[in-house]
């Protein structure tokens, strides 16, 4: 579904990704772990189309398309979803208007009839109930005055409504209390199926107790230095990233 080959990227003169390769297949959940500054968020944002990074080499293919040729909005409509580490606050723009605009942009692109206000509200209310999210979310400004936990829940709500093929969740667990973490994990577990894929970008093993990954990768200095199964995350929790990095030198 997604194939990244030898990806190099920088911001200004600072190299961040240094030859990263990764293959993700349908039905898989991959966890990308690594210390601060290892390039995890950069990878997530490059896949979503953030042009503040300069991709100097490498390729990303998604559903046999060259992803780098698509704009961020085209990537989204093609089924790529990025759950932001710091979801942006847009005061004055109603959450429900925002979600409806996003949903209809995708439907239009796919040649499906746009959803009307009534159908949208019905769908949104059902999703909110299922995810145990406060119904007032819909009437509030996008992330306006939301706590850290509410923002992350809002990302899960958007993901669920947009039904992407690949969801990249960038440190969705950071700043969450245990109840919020469970809500987020519930959302991801309900979302995952044999036809989609999830990339979990995280520092900690904690999230992986609730969402079982198929593969775990350790990112350091802009490349994957080790890959394994769920047990790798547990091992890292004990040994830490420095020991892992030292052993690879």
């Amino acid at each position: 579904m997604l194939e990244i080959k030898n990806l190099h990227a920088k911001v200004g003169t600072t190299n961040i990704l240094n030859g990263l390769s990764l293959t993700i297949k349908k039905g898989e959940v991959h966890a990308i772990m690594g210390p601060n500054g290892s390039g995890k968020s950069t990878l997530a944002r490059i896949i979503a189309g953030d042009d503040s990074y300069d991709v100097t080499d490498g390729e990303i293919h998604y559903k046999n398309k060259n992803l780098m040729e698509l704009s961020p909005e085209e990537r989204s409509r093609e089924g790529i979803f990025l759950g932001f580490q710091y979801p942006v606050e847009i005061p004055g723009l109603n959450n429900s208007q925002f979600l409806k605009a996003a949903l209809n942009a995708k439907r239009k692109y796919l040649g499906i009839e746009e959803i009307d206000a009534f159908e949208f509200l019905k769908m949104a209310r059902e999703t909110i109930k299922r995810l145990e999210i406060d119904p007032s979310f819909l009437n509030r400004g996008v992330n306006e005055g939301f706590s850290g936990g509410e923002r992350k829940r809002n990302e899960i709500l958007q993901m669920t409504m947009l039904e992407p093929n690949i969801a990249i969740l960038d440190e969705t667990d950071s700043g969450l209390d245990i109840d919020a973490l469970k809500v987020v994990a519930k959302g991801v577990n309900e979302f995952r199926n044999q036809d989609n894929a999830v990339i979990l970008v995280t520092h900690y093993q904690r999230l992986l107790e609730y969402i079982k990954p198929d593969k775990v990768h350790v990112l350091s200095e802009g490349r994957i230095i080790r890959s394994g199964d769920e047990s790798l995350a547990k091992e890292l929790e004990k040994t830490g990233y420095i020991a892992e990095k030292e052993s690879k030198k």
Partner: protein, 423 residues
């Protein structure tokens, strides 16, 4: 003396206008013009707004004042057709008498000033208001009685149809809001004709004791037109005003809004939105004069500027000696959405008193790239995302307009304007 407009032409033009009750006013105004000069960029208050080009239009129109220009604008074809209000259409000092009769029934009295001068002060405190008094064919006086019904707003449409080749208009509207009255006013400047035109407008508003006015000024002129408007608003004891100006059209717009707090517990919210695109210039000068204490003013202006648009904001609060307990603030926020957009902004406080609460601030910024990317990453096109973000920037001002029937028309006008801006 005015260097820009021939006084001989002005004198001869004013002679041709209806004299009677207004002749003394005209003669005083003409004397004022002999002793004063038209504003130029040499004056601090006008340093960013050059209006020299409009005087040629004014002179051109002086040769035409003998022509009586009749409106060709039909109510149904302009904003008056979209907003459910009691519309008073004003065209070169003529008003629709049928509508005037209807208004009487709801306690709103409309007349030509020349027919109902009755000690009304015609303000001529600078060269432009003097020019207005010299050349206005008449003024409209609207009296809102204490018992006036406020089910629908009163709409005042300054119709600037230039199809009969009139190059300048001088409108004056005097609004008397009696004690305890509560009314909503929509004051619209709009036209569908795109010919160079200069409108010099003066609006005098007196709010009586305990009165409340919701006021929306909407300027949506076509791209070759100039509007210079001075609004002088007097607030009596416990009067309150919620004023919003929306400027989206025209080539050159200058608005001077002067609010005089003449008695205690008067308060005014003076909000504004301006959206300027290619070749547009919008200048807002606001003065809140707190002559008496325990009064409150709040100025909040939000601007969106694209293309080579140029805007000016000067919000001032004057707190006079003895005006204890004044609360005044001015805020101006600007979004520049193109490289060549320009804003000259200056919030000002002039305080001659202790024990007051005053604040001011201004910001100039660009669209948040991270927010744009966030929206794009949800499938929303970049230009739509830009429009939505821009709209949210001014939403708080639009939400402050408490005249529900204008909501849809205003939304449409602003959405269309923002679409043009992002192209």
């Amino acid at each position: 003396m005015s260097a820009q407009i021939s006084l001989e032409l002005l004198a001869s033009a004013t002679k041709k206008l209806t004299q009677g009750e207004l002749s003394e006013t005209r003669s005083n105004a003409l004397s004022n013009l002999r002793d004063s000069e038209m504003p130029s960029t040499k004056n601090e208050e006008w340093q960013y707004t050059d209006i020299s080009s409009v005087f040629a239009l004014c002179e051109k129109s002086l040769h035409e004042t003998s022509k009586k220009v009749k409106s060709t604008v039909k109510k149904e074809n302009c904003i008056a057709g979209e907003i459910d209000a009691h519309w008073i259409m004003i065209n070169n000092g003529t008003i629709d008498t049928q509508e005037v009769k209807k208004l009487r029934k709801i306690g709103v009295y409309v007349s030509l000033l020349s027919k109902n001068l009755d000690n009304t002060e015609v303000i001529i405190d600078d060269s432009l208001s003097s020019l207005n008094a010299v050349l206005m064919s008449d003024a409209i006086k609207i009296t809102i009685s204490s018992e006036a019904e406020n089910k629908k707003p009163i709409g005042i449409l300054f119709d600037n149809d230039t199809s009969l080749s009139n190059h300048a208009s001088n409108f004056r509207c005097i609004l008397e809001v009696k004690n305890n009255a509560n009314i909503s006013i929509i004051h619209a400047h709009t036209t569908k004709i795109n010919a160079p035109h200069f409108t010099n407008s003066v609006v005098q508003i007196n709010l009586g004791k305990n009165s409340h006015v919701e006021y929306l000024k909407l300027q949506n002129y076509s791209p070759k037109q100039t509007l210079i408007e001075k609004s002088i608003i007097n607030l009596d004891l416990n009067a309150s005003l919620n004023y919003t100006s929306v400027d989206i059209g025209g080539q050159l717009t200058r608005a001077d809004i002067v609010i005089n707090f003449n008695d205690k517990h008067a308060n005014a919210i003076i909000n504004g939105v301006y959206i300027a695109g290619q070749n547009q210039h919008i200048d807002n000068h606001i003065s809140a004069n707190h002559y008496i204490g325990s009064t409150q003013s709040s100025q909040n202006f939000y601007g969106v500027i694209g293309g080579n648009g140029r805007c000016v904001f000067n919000g001032k609060a004057l707190v006079c000696e003895g005006a204890i307990g004044t609360n005044a603030n001015q805020y101006n926020h600007n979004l520049l959405i193109s490289e060549n957009a320009e804003i000259n902004t200056k919030p000002e406080l002039e305080i001659y008193n202790d024990d007051v609460k005053c604040s001011h601030g201004t910001t100039v910024g660009q669209l948040d790239k991270n927010a744009l990317f966030y929206m794009q990453s949800r499938g929303i096109d970049e230009d739509i995302a830009q429009q939505l973000l821009t709209k949210t920037f001014i939403t708080r001002i639009l939400n402050g307009i408490k005249i529900p029937c204008v909501k849809n028309s205003l939304e449409n006008l602003i959405t269309n304007k923002l679409q043009k801006l992002s192209r």
